[in-house]
Amino acid sequence: MKRGIDLGLVLCLQCHQVNQQASANNPGYCHRCGAPLFQRLPQSLSRTWALLITAAILLIPANLYPIMTVVYFGSGQPDTIMSGVVRLIQSGQYPIAILVFIASVAVPVIKILGIAFLLLVVQLRWRLSPHQCTLMYRSIEWIGRWSLLDLFMISILVTLVDLGEIATVSAGTGSTAFAGVVVLTMMSVMTFDPRLIWDLQDTKDEHDSN
């Protein structure tokens, strides 16, 4: 089991080219595409923490302010994400209620907690299975885009339900904050370097063999 970092090899994350490190401390630039090379993403932990904390703070207005107002024959009030889900349950639309709950409430929270957990694993050198942690990282990476569901739905409803006195749908302040949460959590997945998880085990092996 040899790692690139031990052999002086660097993978270009832009074009998958394996490069020789330019010198011991400086990986240099990719000889194929010219992108700067890094053994690990630069300041991966602090950048990811910064994005994650901002996302967690934005999650509060995203849930407190209304994301959408549906007015149907003159009646209707602004709905937050949760009150929208409750309304769907009350009207008996359980499958969509569950779907919207997963995409808009569960996924953002799971993503933020999940990435925070992985950051702690790396920083506090918790002895956990790197397989499980990598699997967790990949799941978070995969579910990320599905939080866009609510935003897409709003953009469909605002134009479709635009019938003046009869029915209108308009977006609310919370949706701006929610859009911020989606982007920031997606970016935090990109700035986190999963190789750090494996480095824990690899450096531990070295200590054991010495």
Binding site: L148, I154, I166, V182, D199
Partner: protein, 208 residues
Amino acid sequence: MSDPITLCHHCDLLVKLPAEEAAQTTHCPRCHADLPHDLHQGLQAPMALCLAGCILVVPANTLPIMTLSILGNSNANTMLNGVLQLFDAGYWWMAFLVFLCSVLAPVMILGLRFAVCLAISTGAPSQWVVPLLKGYQHLTHWSSLDVYMLGILVAIIKLVDLGDLVFGPGLYSFIALLLLSSWSTATFNAKALWSLVSRSQHQGKTNR
């Protein structure tokens, strides 16, 4: 033949790649990440699919997806109208995100794939191909046509009790676009094209 070895992007393990013909997909033996393979599947199929996709983008974005009628009043929506309405209502940031993920990134991906294939097949210098391929890879994170499809489904279920819903040509174009773009993803192998870039770079050096 480019690299007989690669490094795993998820755990930095040195992996020996199997012979090119045998390797449809390779997994990292340690963390089981999907490793990109070099199998080149030709340029014609992705070019045709991307061109067809680029053409379908126009009706998918501008024709009505569905029409809602309540008590004789009716209104239709298109993908672009949704973005414009949010923009007019002052939700610029959200409008931009919806535009990026449902319109701009999918179109740019199809267009850039087409441009990359065209540049390689006409033997364009690698300085042209490199920025196109790089731009393409940045956009792949944001394209979310599949999520938009789910958004349409949820909107349908929400509205079906409210009034009469009629599906428009935009919906069928959108579904076709979604299928075409996933199909073109299956035929377009960025790593194989990067290897072709390497080859043309080497040729450029030896010719000089």
